[in-house]
């Protein structure tokens, strides 16, 4: 991987981290209505996966989707505007944090329903296949989603019909308060995929290069074989499930271990410096990302509210 490529991975992880930290700050200032699900700690999976895709490859996302959205090319200004209920937001203030969609960059949307996007990704893949479009659909979902019936229906059909879907399970080890190990009978998520005849692999989801390389390989393989594939990307969320989580189901030692030892940004910075990337180059990226966030927030706060008219008409095309 070229140095430019690596710096791009770094830039994107940092953008996601700082974007969500900015949201936290806005939330604490009472600027945001509703709740949100932060992916702080999980940036490597969204970044590695989306940067390995082409613009015309599609993704489906989850309630914890800010990272996916940014990494697929979204404009942070339009995302902030969406969270603030502004007209310039991706969904004109109608969707909010949990429903941002950015069709122009191939993001078919975040989804508030656990496993809600799995069956949709299968339909999107069928549509690509029938239209002879040589792109793939990357379907993100959490470890919690694998216990919904729609997970099983989606995998089964994608496999039966040879559809170009890359299923990416972000296993952050909890579905809200439920530890994945207490929720997944048989213990293995990849085995479930294998049982549907889908080749699968489990990777370190906090190693951005490993994610990038695995997704790149899977993408090529899906294109050549026409068959779906499955990645379990093991990661960890630092923040509560949403804004109202007291974190009673896990220890602060566990959280600190992941923050200290496994943080995707820290690890990647360490690696880049080992590879003799100049600190100045990293600093330059950091300054650029910080400016982008600052300016995007400012512009979003100054942008006009979404008008109250036409809500009923807006329900139909």
């Amino acid at each position: 991987m070229s140095k430019e490529n690596k710096l791009e991975l770094y830039r994107m992880m940092l953008l996601i981290r700082l974007f969500e930290e900015a949201l936290e700050e806005m939330f604490s200032r009472g600027l945001l209505h509703g709740t949100m699900h932060l992916s702080i700690g999980q940036e490597a999976t969204a970044t590695g996966a989306c940067l390995a895709l082409e613009k015309k490859d599609l993704i489906t996302s989850t309630h914890r989707g800010h990272g996916h959205c940014l990494a697929k090319g979204a404009d942070p200004y339009k995302m902030f505007a969406e969270l603030l209920g502004r007209e310039d937001g991706y969904c004109r203030g109608r969707g909010g944090s949990m429903h941002i969609a950015d069709l122009s960059n191939g993001n078919l949307g975040a989804n508030g329903i656990v496993a809600g996007s799995l069956t949709i990704s299968v339909g999107a893949a069928l549509s690509l296949k029938m239209q002879k479009i040589e792109n793939i659909v990357l379907c993100f979902f959490g470890d919690g989603a694998v216990n919904e019936g729609s997970f099983h229906e989606a995998l089964n059909l994608a496999s039966l019909w040879d559809l170009p879907v890359l299923f990416v399970c972000e296993n952050n080890q909890y579905g809200m308060s439920m530890a994945s190990e207490n929720a997944v009978a048989g213990g293995s998520i990849t085995q479930r995929a294998e049982s549907y005849g889908i080749k699968s692999v489990s990777i370190d989801g906090n190693d951005v290069e490993e994610v990038y390389e695995t997704v790149s390989k899977c993408k090529e393989k899906i294109k050549s074989s026409g068959k779906p594939m499955f990645i379990e990307s093991v990661t960890y969320r630092y923040r509560g499930h949403s804004k109202s989580d007291r974190n009673l189901y896990r220890t602060s030692d566990e959280i600190n271990f992941w923050k200290e030892e496994k943080d995707p940004l820290k690890r990647f910075i360490g690696k880049l410096t080992e590879e003799k990337v100049e600190i100045d180059e990293l600093k330059k990226v950091e300054v650029e990302v910080k400016n982008l966030i600052r300016e995007s927030v400012k512009k979003a706060l100054e942008s006009p509210e979404s008008p109250k008219t036409n809500l009923e008409e807006d329900s139909y095309a």
């Binding site: 945001l32 209505h33 509703g34 709740t35 603030l84 209920g85 502004r86 969904c91 203030g93 109608r94 969707g95 909010g96 944090s97 949990m98 429903h99 989804n111 508030g112 329903i113 656990v114 496993a115 809600g116 919690g144 989603a145 216990n147 919904e148 019936g149 729609s150 579905g175 809200m176 308060s177 439920m178 207490n182 929720a183 997944v184 109202s244 989580d245 007291r246 009673l248 189901y249 509210e305 979404s306 109250k308 809500l311 009923e312 807006d314 329900s315």
Partner: protein
């Protein structure tokens, strides 16, 4: 009488259910150590243990199916849909199974179960976490549908639902959880006769305003507005939507001659539209001095932005305005 929130009152009722019947368990997502997404079951795990407070994987279909299977084999389960929107994933066990088994089997089984869930908007949770889907269930023969509006009636109605031998859909509006009042923590009732009874919250002669769930609270505050002090407003809380107590509304309308129904859900095929059709096809029709009105949520999914959300849901000012319009119209 102790003062408590609706959330706490529901928890008290759940405790009483668990105490009164050894076969009763509660199952749902994050109801154990997390205490429920809205804190309703907080502390029950410590008190009753994992055998009876069952955290499930994210699997609504089996959560509801579990209740059906347990209910037809001698248990009295209570299950939770974390947000009532997710009941969509559990429609088969509820609609095709729970609602129909008693009838289809010629009365050979009962299906005594409760599906509780947090409904409604106002928290910025957007389109997939804010719906008021209660009328869907009113449409299905075999189900009872209950929508409390405050701590006391939540407590009483949950107990009545528990002793009822039928499947009950119990929709708890998110905004009622934190409402606080004194609650009379009475004993387990001997029958479910409280279900199907509406309640007159305030008597009046100029107009009957009917509502249910959290919208009742908006109606009560609206009626206190200065601009309405000259009017005598009768307020009815439906409480149970199926079976619906239209008879009490008909009686009230015969007296007041005006009917306004207020609800958060959209109007089409809704509780309000059904109630109005029952009133206008009843003996109260002749008493009406103008057509009844339905003040409902817009026919739109719930937007996330606060200013748009309040546009979709009828607000107190809208209710005040509508009541004035209807009364002044005729004077």
């Amino acid at each position: 009488m102790p003062e408590m929130t609706t959330g706490q009152a529901i928890k008290e009722a759940l405790s009483l259910c668990l105490d009164s019947n050894d076969t009763t368990f509660i199952a749902g997502e994050d109801i154990g150590v997390y205490g429920g997404a809205f804190g309703v079951t907080d502390g029950l795990l410590e008190k009753y243990g994992h055998e009876r407070i069952k955290d499930t994987p994210i699997s609504e279909d089996v959560i509801a199916g579990l209740a059906v299977g347990a209910a037809i084999t001698g248990s009295k389960p209570i299950v939770e849909m974390q947000f009532s929107d997710f009941i969509v994933n559990a429609m088969d066990p509820i609609v095709n199974q729970a609602a129909k088994l008693h009838f289809m089997y010629g009365g050979a089984v009962n299906v005594p179960m409760i599906v509780r869930g947090a409904s409604g908007a106002g928290t910025g949770a957007a389109a997939q976490h804010s719906q008021s889907l209660e009328s869907w269930f009113c449409h299905v023969p075999g189900l009872k549908v209950v929508t409390p509006s405050n701590p006391q009636n939540a407590f009483d109605l949950l107990l009545a639902s528990f002793v009822d031998p039928n499947p009950v859909i119990f929709m708890e509006h998110k905004l009622i959880y934190k409402l606080k009042s004194e609650v009379n923590l009475g004993p387990m009732p001997s029958d479910s006769s409280e279900l199907g009874k509406s309640k007159v919250i305030q008597e009046g002669n100029d107009i009957t305003v009917v509502s249910y769930s959290n919208m009742v609270n908006s109606v009560i505050s609206a009626a206190k507005e200065d601009s309405l002090t000259d009017y005598s407003i009768e307020i009815i809380d439906l409480l149970t939507l199926a079976p619906m107590d239209s008879e009490s509304v008909i009686n009230s309308v015969e007296k007041t001659k005006r009917l306004l129904v207020c609800q958060e859900a959209p109007a089409s095929s809704s509780v309000g539209s059904t109630l109005i059709s029952e009133v206008v096809t009843s003996r109260a029709f002749k008493a009406l001095n103008q057509s009844p009105e339905l003040l409902a949520g817009l026919h739109s999914p719930m937007p996330s932005a606060k200013h748009l959300e309040t546009t979709v849901i009828p607000q107190e000012e809208d209710i005040v305005q509508k009541i004035k319009e209807m009364i002044e119209n005729e004077q």
